[in-house]
């Protein structure tokens, strides 16, 4: 009996010895996935270029705003608005990377510069009182959508008049001030990515909480929820407890760019999943990761299937009428879009994290 016990114990121990010392044997690898390569691809060809593009666009917007506020005219206003458009579009490509350097002591970048809708009353109060110091946490009185309010809320001539003469001086200063703040915040994040964070991001190539992949996964999902819940759900009055639609709560209400921005934002999120560089070339992404996992192909098929439905729903939303008007006159296409986005959620969230074994919280799990 003892001999058998010894023998069995020996077998178990040899098994564990093999495991713990890592003996050399014939490797018969499954399709191995190189997460490090994925993180390197995504940071070098998608994340950093996305920040770079917003950074450059913001500099152009800043010049346009300086030019306009020095000598307000309809032409210069149009220039500034055009530059605002390109910043807003470029921002959609970067907004999902709201982790690491974007998590600052004073809140996340996406909140600091991307809060909407703008609080027009608050902005007017600051201007009326001559307060351009921005020493407060009212992020809906500045950022991208604060600038949008100042550049788009009214007819061309009305806006030019608002900025002209002695009365326009504080308004000009306020606009320049929130522009400076926004650029400063964005530029700091961009710089940190290029200086050190990209290296650290790529080096954390595990699947634990705090790994690059886990950070990206969580940020991608939070960004996706933003489209569904705040860019569509809230203005459409689809949220629990809402009794009516709230068309003024759309993103980019004054410029009427809501649908273009939603489309761009959605595609930007899908680029992370697909593995698509900012220039459109193919890089490694979550799709490639899934391909290397058991049942991964099944999840890829299901995800792509539902994305087709999202794409048709997106195509069915008219682009000729601003979303805020559609919400009042013809909300059904936007409601359908929201529903199709909801159906996609589980494929991007629970199923993806479950198959990849990604940790999504820091807390301890069950032991063994």
């Amino acid at each position: 009996m003892i001999t058998i016990l010894r023998y069995a114990c020996g077998v178990i121990l040899v098994g564990f010895a093999l495991v713990s010392t890592g003996c050399t044997s014939n490797n018969n690898p499954t399709q191995e996935f190189d997460r490090k390569a994925m993180l390197a691809d995504l940071s070098a060809k998608l994340i950093v270029p996305a920040y770079e593009r917003v950074d450059a666009a913001m500099l152009r917007l800043q010049s346009a705003i300086n030019a306009f506020t020095q000598a307000p005219s309809q032409t210069l206003l149009h220039d500034a608005r055009q530059q605002w458009d390109s910043v807003a579009y470029a921002w959609m490509d970067a907004v999902s990377f709201d982790f690491g350097p974007a998590e600052t002591l004073y809140g996340n970048l996406s909140v600091n510069i991307g809060t909407f809708p703008a609080d027009s009353v608050g902005i007017e109060q600051f201007i009326a009182s001559g307060d351009t110091a921005l020493q407060n946490f009212e992020r809906d009185t500045r950022g991208l959508y604060g600038i949008e309010y100042l550049l788009f809320a009214g007819s061309d001539q009305e806006i030019v008049d608002q900025f002209t003469g002695a009365g326009g001086q504080v308004r000009s200063a306020y606009l320049r001030s929130i522009m400076r703040r926004m650029y400063g915040e964005l530029h700091a994040v961009y710089q940190e990515w290029t200086q050190s964070y990209a290296t650290s991001f790529v080096s954390r190539n595990g699947t634990d909480a705090g790994s690059g992949t886990s950070e990206l996964f969580n940020a991608m999902n939070i960004s996706y929820e933003m489209i569904k819940n705040y860019k569509l759900g809230l203005p459409l009055g689809l949220r629990a407890g809402q009794t009516s639609v709230e068309p003024t709560k759309v993103e980019a209400y004054y410029s009427g760019r809501s649908i273009e921005l939603i489309t761009r934002h959605y595609h930007a999120v899908m680029n992370i999943w697909d593995g698509r560089a900012l220039d459109g070339s193919k890089i490694l992404g979550f799709k490639d990761y899934l391909q290397a996992l058991p049942s991964g192909d099944r999840l890829i098929d299901e995800t792509l299937q539902q994305r087709k439905s999202v794409d048709s729903a997106l195509a069915a939303v008219p682009t000729t009428t601003p979303l805020s008007d559609q919400i009042v006159t013809n909300p059904q296409p936007a409601i359908t879009l929201q529903a199709e986005l909801q159906k996609l959620t589980r494929f991007l969230k629970s199923e993806l994290s479950s198959l990849t074994g990604l940790a999504i919280t820091y807390a301890s799990g069950d032991g063994d």
Partner: protein, 461 residues
Amino acid sequence: MQVATAISGLSRWWKEYQHALAPARSLAYVRIIFGALMVVSCTRFIALGWIDAQYIMPRWHFPFEGFEWVTTLGNPGMYILFGVMLTAAVGVMLGAWYRVSSIVFAVAFTYVELIDKTYYLNHYYFVSIMAFVLCLLPAHRTLSVDAWRRPHLKVDAVPRWSIDVIKIQLSIVYIFAAIAKMNSAWLFDAMPLRIWMPANDTLPVVGWLMTLWWTPWVFSWAGMLYDLTIPFWLLNRRTRPYAYVAVICFHTITGMMFQIGVFPLVMTGLTTVFFFPSTMSAEDKRTTWVPSWFSKNRVQSVASSAKPTQARIPRIVGYVMGIHLLLQLLLPWRWMLTSDDLFWDENGYRFGWRVMAMEKAGTALFTVTDRETGKRGYVDNAEFLNSHQEKQMAMQPDMILQYAHKLHDVYEQRGVADPIIQAEVWVTLNGAPSKLLIDPEVDLSREQLGWERNRWVLARR
């Protein structure tokens, strides 16, 4: 005839066993190790900022049924509670004011665990059990501040069963963990290890193993066999040292692979109990007799000059331990009365040592409908729950129901008339395609959690 002999043999053994003694230091070692582990565990919890993240920041909690009165003490209440807990753990470790320290620790730790189901872990449950068991035992009668402070407390011996209870409890944990792995997914599909192993391919030393196709099968079987047999290897004197090496390897590897906190440390620390003598050895000269399971003479007489001083344990404590162990043997099986598909509906899942037994995740969408106007809207879970709470809730029916009831109340306050709460909950188990867990048509605000199968939980197939 043989039966009668066996019975009389057994009853003789039992009579002797009840009075058998073990060195008091054995029990003291357990106390010291457990106390030290708890000091580490509490300090870690505080240092990681989890008091704030888990018990202060969240708006809502998921209390256990019948323990709804256990609520978070907020800030600074939770910090004070953890401070008291940590102090008590130090007291347990040192054996200082042991009765008070051990009871305070057991109550404080268990109170915290009862606040929110989200954070339920088998090893927290194990800690609570150990804490309550230890506060009933004379673990402070030697090698302690108390015994030094009040020398009359110091004893040489304690009843042997007081140490065996701990060994049996540890064995129960391992064996039930093995039973939880005895299913076709674990053994024949190597799930969930087939998901978890490749995710660990960046580990030092063992990382390369994780991507080999056969590794998940080897680990699945090795893990099951380890859990099933390790108590016996540890009980046997000859295999014990090798078995303990296996304990160290096993818990080190699982500790590296999974985010399981102090659990590996707790198990490697407490399994040393198998090394502590549970019989009074011959070298212990003051011992008058040594009961032995294996020797032909059931009682060995040893010459001695004085009787060992021994700690007496009230009879009632013995009964409590007996009932506790009996319950421990039965509780993990209760699902047979309440569930058709335990890993799916989890009705009877907790308190059964089902550690790391499945990979499960869900996405839950709740809708709130005004019963009068019919106006329907969906809930953003992030408004009420932290990400950990949402993750746990989205796959466990009892938490889904609790959440639905809370949503009903909060939206009623916000002016929705007697809200209808419905949930579309997609759950993936071990990498299978998501299926609906809850009947999406059912108004959860009108449902109650039953002991029996809940009709609002859909079958997996």
